[in-house]
Subunit: 401 residues, 2 copies
């Protein structure tokens, strides 16, 4: 039987998950690929720390050159974080005709286009299923749908940490700061959480999806990247009383001015598919011209979900699905005249006379429709506003009864 | 440029959807396949009825022999219903070395295994993405996941009509009979609705999934197929007051005695992913060993969603993903000791002394845990019981406050 030789760069949670899963699923991989899959090298930062992971026949090294010089290396799995040295390593690998599979979203958001072109030139593949939504097969499903469908719009909960914090605030009634600290203590948020709670991580994933669907990066000038740090316990509680939940959402569509990408907290009503996506779950909603709306949901991170995505990419190397970008330009008018929930921070809400009120939700909250929500806020420092997704009629009936 | 020649059997909603979509997406299909896709023949029952659909270069016929005798036919799309004549036609097609794509779940549930074996023998493929959940790419996603993951359990809302009826009953407060009549008048249910509301259609889809995941049909003796006709307006309203919703669910897992398939109405709590799957939507929840739980949701039927699934299969012909069955035997003990909601039909609920009460939901309802729910009902004709999926703690806290 022939072999597929793999090197893993980085031996943290993701790298270990890949190593263990290849071992535990060896029989399956042989059955599907007709080859045995061997991990032949692991790149680590600190040899001493990983001494106990040393195995016969597996090169444990801090020197990438040694890995590159292995005679029969088929695939390099990138399980390190940050743009460098990942970008440099993968460039060298592709130039040597080695397939690449990456879980590194920041690097891939910045250099994906370039790496994919380089791979094409060298007749190898780049797998990046693990860069978006962990084990949820978003990339593969999009590729599949894109063969026939054109995408109108994509919405996603793509960062497990911020979704976990927003869900916990609702369940426990604690402040943002207290919830964040608890999340850090329990390993759901990092010591420096800004990458997650400020929306950078979600934005990187949006960029990866944008390149896949639209063939280009989001237009930078109109990109919105808002974090969840302004969401107070009071907002969360008030929203919950109204049957609404905060979610940190990435929205992507192609308008007249290029790809529009927004990362921001929005309110979701009970009838919206993201309403029950709690905790570290990720979810993606894809709007297409033929199928209509398709949603996927599942674990966005974790050792084995991410390993599963990487293993799927490894299998795909022998039969890649290449789909070209396919989209329908989205009607921005429709996108701009969206529904918003206006909150007054501490007293009865008075809606400015030139704003169309669609429904009163309570003394302090109303659903409004306007294109000028920014202006309202500037003029009324006591008002907070959040975009609303999903129907609110159900709630209004309850209020009126 | 070379061609891919297609014949469509049946020219109702599905057949027309395929024909129109091939026309509207011709450029895309050429780009992806590197071939133009031509519909060269359509099989109809009644020539006169379809006279206006006659086009130059497209054979319109009532005689399948004529289609089989077309010199260069690549694919036959089966868009007719019922076991016959579909089964016979597709058998003949495969024996002639013609690829087959089917949307016919009843036929495929009965003859799928045989047709797949015949296709393999003749070195052609059978696509069946459209047999389960319409445009939602359930089959392809399962194939993808199955390359690496092993399935523990699958749950699905696989019949749009029964889900539409249950959703409408909740929203409108009407009886089952009145809701069914309205659904029939609006085209959401057929004149003879038994295939949908008695669970046959959902069961056929369960059989198709069972063969794909477990490599065998469900074990017949233990199969449960309950319809939704016993769900009264009172049950729906009482459940809604408790934050619970009825869904008609297919559950599939492999136990010690073979594949267990249940089709029955169950109660879903707010924290479960199926809670907001309303109307004609379909949804599937897949529990696997590596990824954990992945859910898909989208339109389960309709002209263009189904056409999209069929077109995806046509594209797949040139690069099929073959995954062998892969599963983990499910712990039946865990499955049997499920949670149930007990309702008293018209007065205070008294729970039999030998039943473990997990929570009181109201005067008339409680969550219980037992393996012997059938026996309880036999002894207490006033009691109704429904399996509960999702967490109920959220609700209990509200009751106790």
């Amino acid at each position: 039987m022939s072999h597929l030789n793999i090197a893993i760069l980085g031996f943290g949670t993701v790298g270990k998950g890949v190593h263990y899963s290849i071992k535990s699923h060896q029989a399956r991989l042989e059955q599907v690929l007709g080859k045995s899959v061997n991990v032949v090298a692991i790149l680590v930062k600190n040899l001493e720390k990983h001494e106990q992971s040393r195995e016969d026949g597996v090169l444990l090294t801090t020197n990438f050159e040694e890995i590159l010089n292995i005679g029969e290396l088929d695939v390099i799995v990138d399980a390190i974080v940050g743009c460098e040295p990942g970008h440099t390593y993968l460039t060298q690998a592709l130039e040597k005709g080695i397939h690449v599979v990456t879980a590194n979203k920041e690097m891939f958001a910045h250099h994906g286009e370039e790496l994919l072109a380089l791979a094409k030139k060298n007749d190898v593949t780049v797998g990046f299923e693990a860069t978006v939504a962990g084990g949820v097969p978003v990339i593969q499903t999009l590729r599949q749908l894109l063969q026939v469908n054109r995408v109108r719009k994509v919405e996603g909960i793509l960062n497990g940490t911020s979704n976990f914090i927003l869900s916990s605030m609702r369940k426990d009634g604690h402040t943002f700061e207290k919830t964040l600290r608890a999340a850090q203590e329990n390993g759901y948020a990092e010591a420096d959480p800004s990458n997650d709670i400020e929306g950078y991580d979600a934005y990187y994933k949006g960029v990866v999806l944008s390149q896949l669907i639209f063939g280009e990066k989001p237009e930078e000038q109109s990109t919105i990247r808002k974090g969840i740090t302004d969401i107070t316990a009071d907002y969360v509680e008030s929203a919950d009383e109204l049957g609404l939940r905060f979610r940190h959402i990435v929205t992507l569509f192609k308008g007249q001015k290029g790809v529009q990408c927004k990362v921001e907290p929005v309110l979701i009503s009970t009838e919206h598919p993201f309403y029950q996506v709690d905790g570290v779950q990720n979810a993606v909603s894809i709007e297409t011209d033929l199928v209509g709306n398709v949603q996927l949901q599942g674990p966005g991170a974790g050792m084995y979900p991410t390993a599963s995505a990487i293993l799927e990419d490894i299998i795909q190397i022998s039969r890649p699905v290449n789909s070209e970008p396919a989209y329908v330009v989205y009607q921005e008018e429709a996108a701009n005249s969206s529904k918003w929930v206006l909150f007054n921070k501490n007293k009865k809400l008075e809606v400015p006379y030139d704003i169309k009120v669609l429904a009163r939700l309570s003394d302090r909250a109303a659903v409004v429709e306007t294109e000028e929500v920014e202006r309202i806020l500037l003029e009324n420092p006591l008002l907070a506003y959040f975009e609303l997704k999903g129907n609110y009629q159900h709630r209004v009936e309850k209020v009126n009864v």
